[in-house]
Amino acid sequence: MIDLNTIWFLLVGVLIIGYAILDGFDLGVGVIQLFTKDEKERQININAVGPVWDGNEVWLLTGGGALFAAFPVVYATVFSGFYLAFMLLLFFLIFRAVSFEFRKFSETAEAKKKWDMAFAIGSTVPALLYGVAIGNIMKGLPIEIVDGKVVSKITFLGLLNPFAILIGLTGFAMFVMQGAIYLTMKTEGAHQEKVIKWANGGWIAFVALYVISTIATLFVAPHLFQGILNNILFWTVFLLLLAGIIYTPIGLKSKKYGWTFLASSVTIAAVIGLLAISLYPNLVPSSIDLEKFSLTIYNASSSQYTLKTMLIIALIGMPVVIGYTIFIYRVFKGKVIITKDSY
């Protein structure tokens, strides 16, 4: 029988995966926006994500809320430990969030371009920072437990280590791949040709960086490989990852963009899934003493009653959310059409 703590480990994982797949593509579109010179193409890019980006970002907010409710010690320790980095992230997310509407209300091409850039930079920096944060967690954070209290010695500069930056770049490439593949479904003609190139380039960069990251992890965070190689679940997810990675360029070549998007989404889910399996039951490994001080799904969790209550809330709420999210995506399916209501 799986215990409640494990279920919540899975649910937080699902929220992170949902966020990485959905906001992942609009972060990726933002990165591509940074390099898109043609005004018309920029307008199509931003309108490709316009109606849905806000719902996508809610996965992050709900993930934060779920982490607070299920594992408050992790929420408190990591977010206060990453203080400056987190404030930097918020800075970019704030400007990204207003860029869509502010663009629409702007009248001159110049002002619109400014907000395109706010969207682009506001996507590019977070797309990098998420991986940097994950890299630091993989490596382990300098935390210890003194008299039952978690004490962290995280410094801002300590977060900017080569391994974390490598993971940051890997995540970045993953988001670019996802964003470009999303755009293949939304664009036509020469514009589509360009985003296909982005998708292929993103795929190559992601695969290369993922291999390098995996090798680096063997040295920097060997604890992540302990006891998983004989875990059947690990190999199942690994096969999914392989399938997603292999199909992506094939799908692009045969112009099956919807399937390619699915493959890329499976890839993202598998990447996060593999990491989750490697971490379990740790949430935040301690670099001071892995055995004694790591935050786990048991020592960092809420009470069983709260976990149970929250599970009921999730079981009632999330199917409805997924239902109307699918409905909205169906409404806005197909190529971008610019109307009076567009950005």
Binding site: V52, V58, A69, F91, F95, V150, S303, T309
Partner: protein, 443 residues
């Protein structure tokens, strides 16, 4: 500098700024639910144009609300980590529920409402604004559950060095949740109505879009009058009664009752002095406070002198913010009632001076919201959770004054920039006005 003070300043700043937008969103969304329904069902072109115009305004307001709201979801962890660890077992649940039941709903359907006008049927389009209104209201409910639990905690026990949830419904419907929710909801409706009134008054003053402006102002004045009346009674009255019962220190502070009295007077006006606490130039109605709070003009109400000096909130700020909120609340009733009277007399549209008053009243409900919130939150001090945890024990120990100063300066600069851009875009949109009437209804 004191990190505690800086952390409090940052929280006040970021919530205060964020709180300018959700009340407008909620109020405007509910008005649009009615307006879009009339435009759709009665094929009324004027209402359809009002809906279209203010629908765009809603999108703009919502965007800034989202942008500033992201900060709130994480700030408990970044700045109040000791608090988060101590209450996470109880306090995290409403925040997560807000995400699951509200944020997804309002954000997803807002996309459909804004972009779907030409993509989905009128019925589905109307349903989308209904879901935005419902979602933003549910959002207010859950965040006020969390806030009310800080004011009147319930449904928990203290064990394992933290507050643990034992009764979810008792925590959700703690003694102050419903009074606080209705009071805030009423304030949101007033805020939305005054925005529409202000915009329509502006058009009328300038003789622009007159047909549309008349219909808009008729609607928003009636909406605002009903909301303002409800806000005083029962919403405001019930909330005050609940505070008197559950947080007597706060009640004494906001009412300026410094000595325990039977037949306590209601201070209509006074200038509070602090050392010793005393009301200067008070205008009081004897017995009224006792009657309002407990239904008996002779009831005894505890004054500030009853409580330990280290457990009373700041007296000046609570008294001043609460009283100014009440004055504004009464003003809203007065001004909307007068406007409704002029509408009935068919003279409102000619009264340019009065229309100017309405125009300049646009931001006042938002100021009342801020004042009410200051009274509520400062009135809870020195506690972060009433009688359970002091604010000074709740702050992140790992975050230093330098880091806080950096983030405060960052937020101040961002918010000044956001506000000025937001206002300039909004003003330009209002100046531009709605699409002209064509005599036909778009299908």
């Amino acid at each position: 500098m004191d990190p505690l003070l800086l952390a409090r300043l940052q929280f006040a700043l970021t919530v205060g700024f964020h709180f300018l937008f959700p009340p407008l969103t909620i109020g405007l969304a509910w008005m649009l639910v009615i307006i879009e329904a009339i435009g759709w069902k009665k094929k009324d072109e004027i209402y359809a144009k009002i809906g279209k115009f203010f629908g765009k305004v809603l999108g703009l307001i919502f965007a800034v609300g989202v942008a500033t709201g992201i900060v709130m979801e994480f700030q408990f962890g970044t700045n109040w980590s000791e608090y988060s660890k101590f209450v996470g077992d109880v306090f995290g649940a409403p925040l997560a529920a807000e995400g699951v039941f509200a944020f997804f709903l309002e954000s997803t359907f807002l996309g459909l409402y804004i972009f779907g006008r030409e993509r989905v049927s009128k019925g589905v389009h109307w349903f989308s604004i209904l879901m935005v209104a419902v979602g933003s209201t549910i959002s207010a409910f859950w965040i006020l559950v969390a806030n009310s639990w800080q004011q009147t905690p319930a449904g928990y026990v203290i064990q394992n060095n933290r507050a643990e949830l034992v009764d979810f419904w008792a925590a959700v419907f703690n003694p102050s949740t419903l009074p606080r929710f209705f009071h805030t909801f009423g304030a949101s409706l007033i805020s939305g109505s005054f925005l529409m009134t202000g915009v329509a008054a502006y058009w009328l003053i300038r003789n622009k879009h007159v047909e549309i402006a008349k219909r808009a102002i008729n609607f928003s004045i009636i909406f605002g009058l009903i909301a303002s009346l409800l806000e005083l009674f029962p919403f405001g009255h019930e909330h005050a009664k609940q505070v008197a019962k559950t947080q007597p220190e706060k009640f004494a502070a906001i009412q300026g009752l410094y000595k325990t009295q039977e037949g306590a007077p209601l201070a209509i006006f006074a200038i509070p002095g602090t050392k010793p606490p005393k009301l200067h130039f008070p205008v009081e109605i004897p017995g009224l406070l006792s009657w309002l709070a407990f239904g008996d003009i002779n009831a005894e109400i505890k004054g500030i002198n009853e409580f330990p000096p280290d457990e009373i909130p700041p007296l000046w700020l609570t008294f001043v913010s609460y009283h100014n909120m009440v004055v504004l609340g009464l003003y809203f009733i007065f001004v909307t009632a007068l406007a409704a009277y002029f509408i009935k007399k068919k003279t409102l549209y000619e009264k340019k001076k009065f229309l100017k008053v309405l125009l300049w009243s646009t931001p006042l409900p938002l100021i009342a919201c801020q004042l009410g919130w200051i009274a509520a939150e400062v009135g809870r001090q020195p506690w972060i959770v009433y009688k359970l945890m002091k604010t000074r024990d709740a702050v992140s120990i790992t975050v230093g004054a330098g880091e806080l100063l950096f983030s405060i300066i960052m937020f101040v600069l961002i918010y000044i920039l956001l506000l000025s851009i937001f206002l300039s875009l909004l003003f330009r949109w209002i100046k531009k006005g709605p699409e002209p009437l064509t005599g036909e209804v778009a299908q």
